[in-house]
């Protein structure tokens, strides 16, 4: 392959913005959940289960985790871009990260909707 420095992929803004928005979503969720836990502290397994089986809580938790995985994807890709130079290896690792995060997302849905 030609040894040439190539830039100009014309993306990055969306990811940068997404990273900030997902961070905000996570911060709001954490504050709300801590508030709920302080207001009515669950004492037993049944209490915890009831809390997360509540539909709005379930959806909020799912949104939190999807934000987390999206945020993690952007961060992981940034790290791989900095430290892994061979294009093939980098692409392979990026695909692995996406697959793992997608797996986690399915797992989160499975856990939340089995409560």
């Amino acid at each position: 392959m030609v040894k040439r420095v190539v830039t100009g992929a014309h993306y990055g803004l969306k990811d940068w913005l997404a990273q900030r928005i997902t961070a905000l979503v996570m911060a709001v969720y954490v504050i709300v959940v801590v508030g709920i836990l302080l207001a009515c502290t669950p004492h037993s397994y049944e209490d915890w289960r009831a809390l997360f089986a509540h539909q709005p809580m379930r959806i909020a938790t799912l949104v939190f985790f999807l934000s987390l995985f999206w945020h993690a994807w952007i961060g992981m890709r940034d790290i791989l871009m900095d430290y892994i130079n061979p294009t093939g290896v980098r692409l392979g690792l990026e695909v692995a990260v996406v697959l793992v995060l997608a797996g986690y997302a399915v797992w989160v849905v499975q856990i939340l909707w089995s409560l």
Binding site: A9, G12, L13, D15, D82, Y83
Partner: protein, 231 residues
């Protein structure tokens, strides 16, 4: 006064080494550059760049006790001994404290650091309101000493792809200029995961800038313009 200075002559040395100096200072030696010139009068094999000796030309930037700065405006009385001097990090060393700035200037040139305006020139000048002129404060003062870019880890890892804080500050200097007409082309040129978005706002550039400028804020404003354009 005690100094430890990075020495490397690629013609003679296989490895860089640190050389100790203990030099008697005169009362007139106030800045680090005075001390370096004093050292050079004892050991003329020491190589360094300097020109204006008053923080305007930007040629004597180096790593001083672990932090990038200009030797000519760094007070000797503020320095802990032994003063450890190294070339700017991340750039190839030509000799001793002199680095090869080619990559740095390549990035600077890549942002087209000049006014783009295709209108016919007015008879006298392209006028700006005082408010429009004020937009350029904190941007035009950059002397391209490279202290900021060589303090930036993103520039260390990708000097060939990431524009770096100095180049991005200049990019914003022309984006902010009311007389410039190439806003969209400039933003296109920067919208890239490497060229702009390697900056993660760690603010090393702000910490070291000898002119007290804030490249991180300028980079934030470039991102703001991109958001404004996209949403």
């Amino acid at each position: 006064m005690k100094f430890r200075i990075y020495r490397y002559d690629p013609d003679k040395d296989s490895q860089p080494r640190m050389q100790d100096y203990d030099v008697e200072m005169q009362p007139s030696d106030r800045m680090l550059l005075d001390a370096l010139i004093r050292i050079k009068s004892v050991d003329d094999s020491l190589s360094l760049r300097r020109s204006c000796r008053e923080g305007v030309c930007g040629s004597d930037a180096k790593n001083i006790n672990g932090k990038n700065g200009l030797a000519c405006i760094t007070r000797l009385s503020d320095l802990k001994e032994p003063v450890e001097l190294r070339p700017l990090p991340g750039l190839p060393v030509i000799r001793d404290l002199i680095v090869d700035m080619t990559q740095f200037f390549k990035q600077y040139h890549s942002v087209k650091p000049y006014l783009v305006n295709n209108q016919p020139s007015p008879e006298k000048e392209r006028r700006q309101s005082p408010a429009e002129r004020e937009e350029l404060d904190g941007l035009y003062e950059c002397i391209l000493c490279a202290c900021c870019s060589t303090a930036c880890p993103s520039f260390w890892w990708n000097p060939d792809k990431f524009v770096g804080p100095a180049g991005l500050l200049q990019a914003y200097r022309f984006l902010a200029d009311s007389r410039d007409e190439a806003t969209s082309e400039r933003l296109d040129n920067l919208e890239d995961p490497y060229r702009l978005f390697r900056c993660h706002s760690i603010m090393n550039c702000v910490d070291v800038c000898p002119k007290g400028l804030n490249p991180t804020r300028a980079i934030g404003k470039i991102k703001d313009l991109m958001v404004k354009r996209a949403v």
